[in-house]
C-alpha cells in the first residue's frame, strides 16, 4: 500500500464504493503516514454531513436509540453513517465491539454505513481516528453521521466535540446517579434523552434534569428533555425534531462558523501536539537520552520538572 494506491482508493470512495470507504477507515486508524495523505485528499469534500454525538452510561440504550433514530432519518430520505465506539481493554489491547447487535436491521440498508471502533487507549488516538472516520463518511456523501460513545470519561467528552448536536442519554433507574455525573458529561448535552421511559420514576428523573438545567447557564438554548422507549420506537420522532430545532438554532446566526473556527483550532493544535510528542519521544528513545534522564530522576540527582526542562531545552536548540 503506497500513496498511489491511496489516491485510487479515495477516487473509489468519492464514486460511492463502500469497500474503499471501509479500507480507508482502516488505514487512517492504523497507518499514520498514509493517513495524512488520505485526509488531505478528502478534506475538500467534507463539510456536508451533520454530525450527531450520542453518549450515556453502558446499558442506557444508546445503540438501540441510534438504530431507531437511523430508521427515522431513513424514512425522511436521509443517508446515515454510524461510528460506534467501545472501550479497548487496557490490559490486552483487544476489544469486543457489540453495538452492531442492536443495529442488525440496518446492516443491509444501502443508505447506512456502520463502523465499530475501539478507543485503543493511546493519547488522542481515539479522538483523531474517529474525527478522521467522520470526515471519510462525510466525503462519502452521508447526510448524517452519528457517533456513539460510552460516557464515562474525558475521552468521550472529546469526541462529542466533533458533533454539532450532542445528546446525553439517561435512564429513570439512575436516580441519584444523575447528580453524580452532572459534573461530567451533563454539561455537554444539547438534548437530553430519558430512555426507558416506560419504567417507574421517569417524571422524577425529568424533574431532576429540569432542576439541574435551572441552575446551569447554557446561553439561550435550553436543552430539551425527550422521553423515549427506544426498543418500541416511542419518542424517536420527537427526538429527531429536537435535533432539527437545535440544528436550526446553531445555523441561525454565526454560531456554526464560530464552532468551526474553535474546533479547527483545537484540532490543529492536537495534531501538532501528538506529532511533536511522537517525534520527540522517538528521538529521545533512539539516542538513549530519555533513559539517561529517567535514571537521573530515579537516583534523585534531578527532579522530574528539571528533567522535563532539560528535554525542552533540546527542542529550543533546533
Amino acid at each position: 500500500m503506497d500513496e498511489d494506491d491511496v489516491s485510487v482508493l479515495v477516487a473509489s470512495l468519492l464514486r460511492g464504493d463502500r469497500r474503499a470507504l471501509a479500507r480507508l477507515i482502516t488505514l487512517v486508524e492504523n497507518r499514520p503516514r498514509l493517513r495524512d495523505r488520505i485526509m488531505s485528499l478528502i478534506y475538500p469534500y467534507t463539510g456536508n454531513a451533520y454530525v450527531i454525538g450520542i453518549t450515556g452510561s453502558p446499558g442506557s440504550g444508546k445503540s438501540t436509540l441510534v438504530d431507531k433514530l437511523t430508521g427515522e432519518l431513513r424514512t425522511r430520505g436521509k443517508t446515515v453513517g454510524i461510528i460506534a465506539i467501545d472501550p479497548t481493554s487496557p490490559f490486552t489491547g483487544g476489544a469486543i465491539l457489540g453495538d452492531r447487535i442492536r443495529m442488525l436491521s440496518k446492516s443491509t440498508d444501502e443508505g447506512v454505513f456502520i463502523r465499530s471502533m475501539s478507543t485503543r487507549g493511546s493519547l488522542g488516538g481515539l479522538s483523531r481516528a474517529a474525527y478522521d472516520a467522520i470526515a471519510l463518511l462525510d466525503a462519502f456523501g452521508k447526510d448524517f453521521v452519528i457517533v456513539e460513545t460510552v460516557g464515562t470519561g474525558q475521552a468521550e467528552v472529546d469526541i462529542v466535540d466533533a458533533a454539532y448536536t450532542s445528546i446525553v442519554v439517561v435512564t429513570p433507574d439512575m436516580g441519584d446517579e444523575i447528580q453524580a455525573i452532572k459534573a461530567g458529561i451533563l454539561e455537554i448535552a444539547d438534548i437530553f434523552v430519558v430512555n426507558k421511559a416506560d419504567l417507574e420514576n421517569v417524571d422524577a428523573t425529568v424533574m431532576a434534569l429540569q432542576m439541574m438545567l435551572d441552575l446551569s447557564d447554557k446561553g439561550d438554548w435550553r436543552p430539551p428533555i425527550i422521553k423515549t422507549v427506544a426498543t418500541k420506537g416511542v419518542g424517536v420522532k420527537e427526538l429527531l425534531d429536537a435535533i432539527e430545532r437545535h440544528r436550526a438554532y446553531i445555523c441561525e446566526t454565526d454560531r456554526i462558523e464560530k464552532m468551526h473556527y474553535k474546533r479547527s483550532k483545537v484540532r490543529i493544535l492536537e495534531i501538532v501536539r501528538s506529532k511533536l510528542m511522537d517525534k520527540l519521544i522517538r528521538e529521545l528513545e533512539n539516542s538513549g537520552e530519555l533513559d539517561r534522564i529517567v535514571k537521573c530522576v530515579v537516583e534523585k540527582k534531578m527532579d522530574p520538572y528539571s528533567a522535563a526542562d532539560e528535554i525542552l531545552r533540546k527542542l529550543d536548540k533546533k
Binding site: S89, G94, L104, R115
Partner: protein, 137 residues
C-alpha cells in the same frame, strides 16, 4: 509510532439456533489475545454477515453454527463474498460439523473448522498465522 494493524474479526451466528456460549467464549479469547472482535449476536442472515464484514473491514469471519444448517448457510456466505468482490477474508467455522461436510466446506473456501473442545489458543494461533501470511502478500 510503529505502523501495526490490529487484527479485526467478526463473530457471527448465522441461522436460527440460540446456542451462543461457544461464540462468546471464542470472542472473549480473541479479545484477550489483543484482537478487535465485532460480535454480531444471534440469528444473523448471510447478507448481514457479509455486509458487516465489508463495512468493518475485518480480516476474519468466524461463523458459529450448531443448528445443522451449515451446508446451506456457509456456502451462501461464501457466495455473497464472491459476488461482492471480497476475496481477502479468512472464513472460519465453529460448531458441530460432521467430518463428511468438513471436507466439502474446505473445498468451497472455508479456511478451517473448529469443533467442540478446541482449545482457544489453537484458534488464536491459526488466525495470527493466516493473517500474517495474507498481509505479507
Amino acid at each position: 509510532m510503529e505502523e501495526e494493524k490490529k487484527i479485526r474479526v467478526i463473530i457471527a451466528k448465522p441461522g436460527l439456533d440460540g446456542h451462543d456460549r461457544g461464540a462468546k467464549i471464542v470472542a472473549r479469547a480473541l479479545r484477550d489475545a489483543g484482537m478487535e472482535v465485532i460480535y454480531m449476536g444471534l440469528r444473523n442472515t448471510p447478507e448481514q454477515i457479509v455486509e458487516t464484514a465489508i463495512q468493518e473491514d475485518v480480516d476474519v469471519i468466524g461463523l458459529s453454527i450448531l443448528s445443522g444448517a451449515h451446508m446451506a448457510l456457509v456456502p451462501r456466505v461464501l457466495e455473497l463474498l464472491k459476488e461482492n468482490g471480497v476475496e481477502d477474508k479468512i472464513v472460519l467455522v465453529g460448531g458441530i460439523i460432521p467430518k463428511v461436510d468438513e471436507e466439502k466446506l474446505k473445498e468451497m473456501g472455508v479456511a478451517e473448522i473448529f469443533g467442540p473442545g478446541t482449545p482457544t489458543d489453537k484458534i488464536v494461533e491459526f488466525i495470527r498465522q493466516r493473517v500474517g501470511e495474507i498481509r505479507k502478500r
